[in-house]
């Protein structure tokens, strides 16, 4: 108990250091990440290791090359250093300059993925993820590059007493060079188990049985994909069209606020707020999957960025607050 109180105190102290109007958290702060003091738990997403060797399972190599989070000052050749919204440093998530058509599964670093690993606090009903973010493509060629930025998203990877599920949101900006500009929520009910994704050996149960990837797991790269950027893992939000502030030059970007709230008791969505607009998601559910071994009470926030060209795409994150009540 003493350790718990100590942690809450530390978080409260950190939260009090925030600019007070930057966030609208729920009653209790679970984490506050301001990337002026490191990555604070956000790290690369890599496959599980084999039990018998310090190697990845055969067939998982395509998941070892995702872009990873790094500390960034947002520096450009002619514009100089952006800094962050608060302080000098943000977390930057990048893709490699690898073009994969929208209808094909992401691979070879066409996504950048960052994950933090926690467990669900007691008495959690509502869970809120907030961040200040900016999007851009690499200034590797002339042009604003808006058509080269496919999208980005956020999911919680959750396993409660009964189910594993991935509530989250995705912004699809461009697919095969055609602007889309709409928000989606994570739900894989329209998918079928056979086409969900690569079947590959992964974590084993206590009795040694092989666990395969189930429909609804890892929706940011699994499930069928289509030329307009739709995937089996996400459903476009009704009235979810929105222009973000991409800016007019390839070396300028703007910070956006985002808040995403989910109800853990009903396992239903609440809302998404970003760029001055609230999207009501009430009544929408997630795809429930039988639990996996060794991840009881898992609570992992995950975010990613997708490129639509052979050009790096970036998601900059000034800071993040996870809260609950």
């Amino acid at each position: 108990m003493g350790v718990t109180l100590s942690c809450i105190s530390t978080m409260s102290e950190q939260y009090n250091m925030m600019q007070p109007d930057m966030y609208n958290p729920l009653k209790r702060i679970l984490s506050y990440d301001n990337f002026d003091s490191g990555l604070q738990g956000w790290m690369a997403l890599v496959p599980n290791l084999r039990e018998d060797a310090m190697e990845y399972y055969p067939g998982h190599e395509w998941k070892t090359k995702w872009g990873f989070p790094m500390i960034s000052s947002g520096t450009f050749g002619l514009g100089g250093t952006h800094g962050a919204l608060s302080g000098n440093y943000a977390m930057k998530l990048f893709t490699r300059p690898v073009h994969i058509p929208a209808e094909e599964e992401p691979r070879n670093g066409s996504l950048g993925v960052a994950i933090k690993r926690m467990t669900i606090p007691m008495h959690t009903t509502l869970l809120r993820f907030e961040m200040w973010y900016a999007i851009k493509v690499e200034q590797s060629r002339p042009g604003v590059g808006e058509h080269d930025f496919r999208g980005f998203g956020f999911v919680w990877d959750i396993q409660d007493d009964q189910y594993r599920y991935f509530p989250g949101i995705r912004y699809i900006n461009s697919a095969n060079g055609v602007l889309q500009k709409r928000w989606q929520y994570s739900n894989a009910e329209q998918a079928d188990a056979e086409t969900w994704g690569t079947k590959a050996q992964s974590a084993k149960t206590e009795d040694g049985k092989v666990v395969f990837i189930k429909k609804g797991i890892d929706p940011y790269w699994l499930g069928r994909r289509f030329p307009n950027g739709e995937t089996d893992g996400f459903v476009s939000i009704e009235g979810g069209d929105q222009e973000l502030c991409f800016n007019e030059s390839s070396d300028k970007y703007n910070w956006h606020y985002l808040s995403f709230t989910f109800n853990l008791q009903t396992r239903q969505y609440v809302d998404l707020v970003t760029n001055g607009k609230q999207f009501d998601l009430s009544g929408l559910g997630v795809t429930l999957v039988d639990p996996y071994p060794r991840i009881n009470n898992l609570l992992n926030p995950i975010m990613w960025v997708e490129t639509d060209a052979d050009r790096r795409s970036f998601l900059f994150v000034d800071s993040i607050v996870c809260s609950y009540e």
Partner: protein, 111 residues
């Protein structure tokens, strides 16, 4: 307390063509070490040459003035760097063109 981070640039990756690792922003760090582990090396590869590069913007790169690693056998090697500014990356190629190896590479950064 000083900041510290390791970015993994190559994970047990099979390399048969020259590679350049992803650009890393390093402005917050004063010390950098590129670690390079050669797990396997094909006999036709005479030596693996790994050279660090620096940049002001992450787009235009020049060779760093530190000596390259020239690796002729499997094992783990280190390249220690200072005064590298805000960006670092590593180029890896074969000394005589031919390249066949499995490599893990990490960039260790310390404030």
């Amino acid at each position: 307390m000083r900041n510290y981070a390791v970015y993994v640039l190559l994970r047990q990756e099979q390399i048969i063509e020259p590679v350049t690792t992803e650009p890393c922003e390093t402005g917050w760090a004063t010390e950098a070490i590129f670690f390079l582990t050669v797990h396997k090396k094909h006999q036709s590869t005479s030596a693996i040459v790994a050279r660090s590069q620096i940049s002001a913007d992450g787009i235009n790169w020049i060779d760093n003035d530190s000596p390259p690693l020239i690796i002729t056998d499997t094992g783990t090697y280190a390249m220690k760097l200072r005064d590298f500014g805000g960006w670092l990356r590593l180029t890896i190629k074969g000394s005589e063109g031919s390249l066949g190896c499995v490599i893990t590479s990490q960039l260790s950064l310390k404030e």
